[in-house]
């Protein structure tokens, strides 16, 4: 490593101010700090620092996403070969089918997002910030597998520029960047983002006769006869374990409850995600699902789902574990986090059940509560202020 460092140090002057490549300073700095932890020592205040930094934090989130990501790739393969009548392929065939299906999307998201980040960092003279490391992998995972790359590129560019950079970059955005991307796609290209034909990659191969590509929530939302049995892509009923493991079509990262729970365990153990948000969102979602289930109506067929099944299906869990806990866009005060999480859980289920136009409500509920998070915090902080003011009044009496 000493040799590598010596070589990099040798070319470093070119990238500094006045060097011939100074326009690429931020890019160089980004790679340099990626390879070697900066040697900068403290100039003011404390003389020692905790080993944790934002790179570590972001990478841990990416690691927590990996189980969902890898499972999702395998599941794409599984759904494809089930739909086309060859379900008995071996593990790696399924996995690599999915891997190559989503690789272009992952690359597109990262390249578009990071290029914008690099340009903006250079314009501002900042270091590259690693926030997009997480967004870049999240974005393809919450989109249908057949989303065209050019759509993704436009959506990512829109989200990174207008949801993040215009507000000042990582740490200043008030909406979750990945969800803004998803919402942009959802409202601009609805035919490619929902319906029965986007969640299973057929890749030109003809499907078997019994095939239907509808997601479980999609099947329920379009049902007209109240309680229906949800089925997989070839019409077999889905068992509880199928739902828990995630063997059904959907946005490819978010189907497996098991993998999301593994990710949640990593985030909670490392203390990166806030347990208050996850817990209260689960409580909120469960309460709302239970209320709806108790007064189920054929007008709103999704209400027939049992509360626990309701929570395991679709993007609900994924959204509360990986999106609602984004520290920048969530509430920052502890009491606020309880309220924020509860409302996300509740509104996600309300939208899902009572707005039959949208089979899934997690995305919209998190974005909605992102907007309300500052207000919730404002109220919590004002209570603290009022306490302080009361102290003076009590004294002066």
């Amino acid at each position: 490593m000493k040799g590598l460092k010596r070589n990099i140090d040798k070319i470093k002057p070119h990238f500094e101010k006045g060097g011939k490549l100074s326009k690429l300073h931020s890019v160089f700095d980004g790679f340099y700090t990626f390879l070697f932890t900066p040697n900068e020592t403290s100039r003011s205040g404390v003389h020692i620092h905790d080993g944790n930094d934002s790179k570590r934090t972001m990478i841990t989130v990416v690691i927590a996403l990996l189980p969902c990501c890898l499972f999702g790739m395998w599941n794409i393969g599984l759904q494809h070969f089930m739909a086309t009548g060859n379900p008995d392929r071996e593990f790696f065939t399924l996995f690599f089918y999915g891997f190559f299906a989503v690789l272009p999307q992952i690359l597109t998201a990262y390249i578009v997002g990071l290029v914008i980040e690099f340009i903006v960092a250079q314009m501002r003279g900042h270091e590259i910030q690693e926030g997009f490391l997480v967004s870049g992998i999240l974005i393809p995972m919450i989109c249908p597998v057949d989303t065209p790359c050019w759509m993704l590129a436009i959506a990512v560019a829109f989200a990174v520029i207008f949801a993040k950079e215009v507000f000042g970059g990582t740490g200043h955005n008030f909406l979750n960047v990945a969800l803004v991307t998803r919402a942009f796609l959802f409202f601009s290209y609805p035919s490619k983002m929902s319906g029965d034909n986007v969640f299973v990659k057929l890749g030109g191969t003809p499907a078997v006769d019994s095939y239907s590509g509808a997601t479980p929530l999609g099947q329920l939302a379009s049902s007209t006869e109240g309680a229906v049995t949800i089925t997989d892509v070839i019409g077999n009923p889905l068992s509880c374990s199928d739902i828990f493991f995630g063997l059904y079509p959907g946005s490819w990262g978010e189907t497996s409850t098991l993998c999301i729970l593994i990710g949640a365990a990593i985030l909670l153990l490392t203390g990166i995600a806030n347990w208050r948000i996850i817990l209260s969102a689960l409580v909120g979602g469960f309460c709302m699902a239970a209320v709806a289930h108790n007064w189920a109506s054929p007008l709103y067929p999704v209400s027939y789902l049992a509360p626990l099944t309701q929570l395991s299906l679709g993007g609900f869990l994924f959204a509360i574990v990986f999106m609602a806990t984004d520290p920048v866009t969530a509430c920052r005060t502890n009491p606020g986090k309880y309220i924020y999480g509860f409302l996300i859980g509740m509104t996600a289920i309300i939208i899902r059940i009572y707005n039959t136009g949208y089979p899934e409500g997690a995305m919209l509920s998190v974005l909605l509560m992102n907007c309300f998070a500052p207000l919730i915090d404002y109220c919590v902080v004002n209570m603290n202020i009022r306490r302080r003011m009361r102290r003076i009044t009590v004294k002066n009496q």
Binding site: K5, F36, E40, S42, G51, R56
Partner: protein, 444 residues
């Protein structure tokens, strides 16, 4: 029966190099320096010229705002240098210890005004701090209460109180009681058994910052807008007691030499402002490369040049750690090294136990970012204040919001632990100091 307060939020950072029980006496130091920057809130002017001979307790500097307020010479001898920096600002005044150590007699007044003048003349008043603003107290403002801290919970800090200073401390608390209309509070570590007739004693247990005046004030009786309280440590209180009893000021101090790069961490009996060149002669271990010498503890101390620098206020501790600027840590963000300390469980150090001593160097171990993670500061900040919001108000220079969020209750040192744990590596103590100075400039 004293009151017991349990501090729950906080962190004891496990550094290597705690001072052992050995105590040595330093008689070899001849150069002593007083640094006016240690005493914020006043503009200091030189009261002597190089070459003047001074007694122990003679003024070296006086405040432009009130000439009674002095910084005094800790020894008798001749003024060796008035060192000036940019725009002729005085950086330090140094005195060569020479001849017989004659001491200035400050008399024995009994009225409040006389006592205050005596404190100001003797340089002990400058060792008191006031909240708000964390500066040398305003003259003419009677404090609501006075808070005396009898223990230091900072990393590697030594015991502050000794058995032989208890009677002086008691005398000091009695004197302080006459300077306030309210109460004198003495904060001690739980189980220390210290009692007082002249102060209300509170016992504190729990991790650092239990020993910070800010934490103690917040737990006992928080500062409101328009109020002023004084804070000082028990060592200064005992010095005040001794001054009142004898009429002479005592500037001796015991200093804990601590840190991983100190060859033999122990306690030295010396005098305030001692030159580090002699105090640390043959004490530092340079085998790991550059050494950072800090006068004070690793959280709030000042970095000093060990060859030319002096022991700085509050004159109790010196810490030496590796500078670490030559370390090449390859992909440190991916480190699985259990020796890398972090309160975050994303590093495996927690498996090893976070109370065992760890190696630390002065690297900030990351890049500067905007505030990203939430709730990090709250975990180590035991006051009823939202630190993130207060910091943002300071960044925005929004005075009304700063006041509402409790800036009058805090000092930079209260933000030391949040600054340590911050993943965004924001210089919080510097921000708070700037915020307090800005507030003082704009509101007074």
């Amino acid at each position: 029966m004293s009151n017991i307060i349990k501090i729950k939020k906080g962190l004891d950072i496990p550094l290597k190099g705690a001072a052992d029980g050995n105590i040595t006496v330093d008689n070899s130091t001849v150069l002593f320096g007083i640094v006016p920057d240690d005493f914020p809130g006043y503009t200091w002017k030189a009261a002597v010229k190089a070459g003047d001979s001074v007694k122990c307790g003679d003024a070296l500097l006086f405040a432009k705002e009130d000439a009674r307020l002095c910084l005094t010479s800790p020894v008798a001898g001749t003024v060796s240098e008035i060192h000036r920096g940019e725009r002729r600002k005085i950086e330090y005044v140094s005195v060569n210890k020479e001849g017989e150590q004659t001491q200035k007699d400050f008399g024995s007044p009994t009225d409040k005004e006389g006592i205050l003048t005596k404190l100001m003349n003797s340089g002990l008043f400058a060792m008191i701090r006031q909240r708000p603003f964390d500066i040398v107290p305003f003259i003419g403002v009677t404090p609501r209460d006075i808070f005396v801290t009898a223990f230091d919970s900072a990393p590697l800090a030594a015991e502050m109180t000794k058995a032989d200073m208890m009677s002086d401390l008691e005398e000091g608390l009695k004197v302080l009681g006459g300077l306030t209309d309210g109460k004198v509070y003495l904060s001690v570590r739980a189980g220390s058994g210290i009692e007082s007739r002249y102060a209300e004693v509170y016992e504190f247990s729990g991790p650092h910052p239990a020993g910070n005046a800010g934490t103690q004030i917040a737990a006992i009786s928080p500062v409101n807008k328009g109020e002023t309280v004084w804070t000082l440590d028990a060592v200064t209180a005992a010095r005040i007691g001794r001054l009142m009893a004898s009429g002479k000021a005592d500037y001796s101090t015991s200093v804990a030499l601590t840190g991983e790069d100190m060859k033999e961490p122990h306690i030295v009996e010396t005098t305030i402002g001692a030159s580090l060149g002699t105090l640390l002669d043959n004490q530092l271990d340079h085998s790991n490369g550059k050494v950072r010498v800090i006068s004070g503890n690793v959280l709030t101390g000042v970095r000093v040049d060990w060859k030319a620098g002096f022991l700085r206020y509050p004159y109790r501790q010196i810490t030496a750690i590796d500078e670490g600027d030559q370390t090449d840590e390859f992909m440190g963000w991916a480190s699985l090294d259990p020796r890398k300390y972090s309160v975050s469980r994303s590093f495996p150090a927690f498996l090893r136990g976070l109370s065992k001593p760890f190696h630390f160097d002065a690297r900030i171990k990351g890049g500067h970012r905007a505030m990203i993670m939430s709730g990090e500061y709250d975990k180590v900040f035991p006051m009823d204040i939202y630190p993130e919001y207060l910091i943002k108000a300071i960044m925005a220079k929004d005075i009304e919001r700063m006041e509402q969020l409790g800036i009058y209750e805090v000092a930079p040192e209260d933000f030391a632990l949040p600054e340590f744990v911050d993943t965004s590596k924001i210089e919080l103590q510097k921000l708070v100091r700037e915020g307090l100075d800005y507030l003082r400039k704009e509101t007074l």
